[in-house]
């Protein structure tokens, strides 16, 4: 642990903080200017697992601000060039590179696989996709973005805090990115550093996280302002279908489909049918990976409240054939004699 001694001697970090860093996984979306500033600091600080998503290749016009790359990197994938440099900085870091652009196709699996998400993208569309997934998966998203000499930083979806789309609802209006607006390397450097700092704070559980606040930094004046969200609407609820087909107990027991009991194990009456299984709602998220997503599930509980929650949870996980059994467990007994 000598390597980290100068940070572990901080009372706020200590060896337990170092352990937290080591056991955490951070996904950095975008290996451009912001990503190049964020990544070396997370890797050097000892963050155990780091995912890097970017489908882009290095161009000469990137080099003035994307400092992980050099002239030999031109034409190569950014994630590969970044991995090479970062792995040399810390051989123990587990670096997972994803040479793809973030999309609605891959976002859920990626967000799911990490504890904390850093938004280092340069594209509003992608940011909304990422924000929505972070909201759905309840993962904090550390936002950073720049416009010429100014930068913004905030932490969204942190412990139920506001999301990006609740601050900036989706509007079909033009915005310029770095390619179009221009940027100094130091501007993305400063903003990326603030993002990396929020990431370390969240992992270590120290300081005040920029949740519910938007920081704007002007690098020309060194003016830094924090705006607080007052009455921005709560995070937009992820789109889920709330209309699941209801079936009766009599229909539920017909056929081969699995009957899923989401009550806790000791709840009475116990229902034990040949095709019934019991996975309490409290562990369903974890256990759902063992279920066949393509098979029909007929869900029941005691009163119908938890079965609906279970159906919504499974729907978000990609289960398609979900039915709710009307009534509750007690009705199975009368049906079953």
């Amino acid at each position: 642990m000598d390597r980290y001694q100068r940070q572990t001697i901080l009372p706020e970090v200590g060896t337990s903080g170092q352990q937290k860093l080591k056991s955490s996984g951070v996904l950095v979306v975008g290996a451009g200017g912001l990503g190049c500033a964020i990544l070396p600091y997370l890797v050097s600080a000892g963050v155990g697992r780091i995912g890097i998503v970017d489908g882009d290749r290095v161009e000469e016009s990137n080099l003035h601000r994307q400092i992980l790359y050099n002239e030999n990197s031109i034409g190569g994938l950014k994630v590969e060039a970044a991995q090479k440099v970062l792995q040399r900085m810390n051989s123990t870091a587990q670096l997972e590179i994803i040479p793809e652009f973030l999309s609605t196709e891959n976002v859920d699996n990626l967000v799911e696989a990490f504890d904390l998400i850093v938004d280092a993208t340069d594209n509003l569309e992608v940011r909304y996709v990422l924000d929505e997934a972070c909201c759905r998966k309840k993962k904090a998203m550390i936002y950073g973005s720049i416009y010429r000499f100014q930068g913004q930083v905030s932490v969204f979806n942190y412990n139920g805090g506001p999301s990006y789309s609740s601050l900036f609802p989706k509007e079909d209006k033009p915005l310029l990115n770095c390619e179009e607006a221009g940027a100094l390397g130091t501007t993305v450097g400063i903003i990326g550093m603030l993002q990396a700092n929020e990431a370390l704070k969240i992992i270590l559980g120290i300081g005040e996280v920029l949740s519910g606040k938007l920081l704007i930094y002007n690098t020309l004046t060194n003016d830094q302002k924090v705006f607080e969200f007052e009455d921005v609407p709560p995070p937009i609820k992820p789109k889920i279908s709330t209309s699941f087909e209801m079936i009766t107990v009599a229909d539920a027991v017909l056929g081969e489909s699995v009957l899923l009991d989401v009550r806790e194990l000791m709840e009475m009456p116990q229902v034990k049918l040949t095709n019934s299984i019991q996975i309490p709602l409290s562990v369903l998220e974890r256990e759902s990976d063992n279920l066949d997503k393509s098979a029909e599930l007929r869900i029941f509980c005691q009163s119908g409240v938890r079965s609906r929650k279970a159906a919504e949870l499974l729907f978000q996980k990609g289960f398609q054939k979900l039915k709710l059994v009307g009534g509750g467990a007690k009705d199975f007994l009368t049906e079953d004699g």
Partner: protein
């Protein structure tokens, strides 16, 4: 006097980071209308902060003397 602060692309269309408005009171809706006719700010997405608190643009609110109103567009560079 009301202080208006501009950020990002809105500071560019206003050609300034801030300006002052010599009125005692103006509704938020009137202020936004005035800024739209002056700088066409309606073409950009932005949020409003009154005295550093971000509030809905639709809020029925009177901006008073010595208040500070900031126009905050989202940034997209990275």
């Amino acid at each position: 006097m009301i202080t208006l602060k501009y950020f990002g692309n809105i500071a560019e269309v206003a050609q300034s980071d801030f300006e002052t408005l010599n009125v005692d009171s103006i509704s938020l809706a009137e202020l936004l209308e005035m800024l739209d006719s002056k700088y066409a700010v309606g073409q950009f997405p932005f949020q409003i902060a009154v005295n550093r608190k971000i509030v809905s643009k639709q809020k029925d609110l009177n901006i008073l003397d010595s208040d500070e109103v900031a126009l905050l567009p989202p940034f997209a560079g990275g």
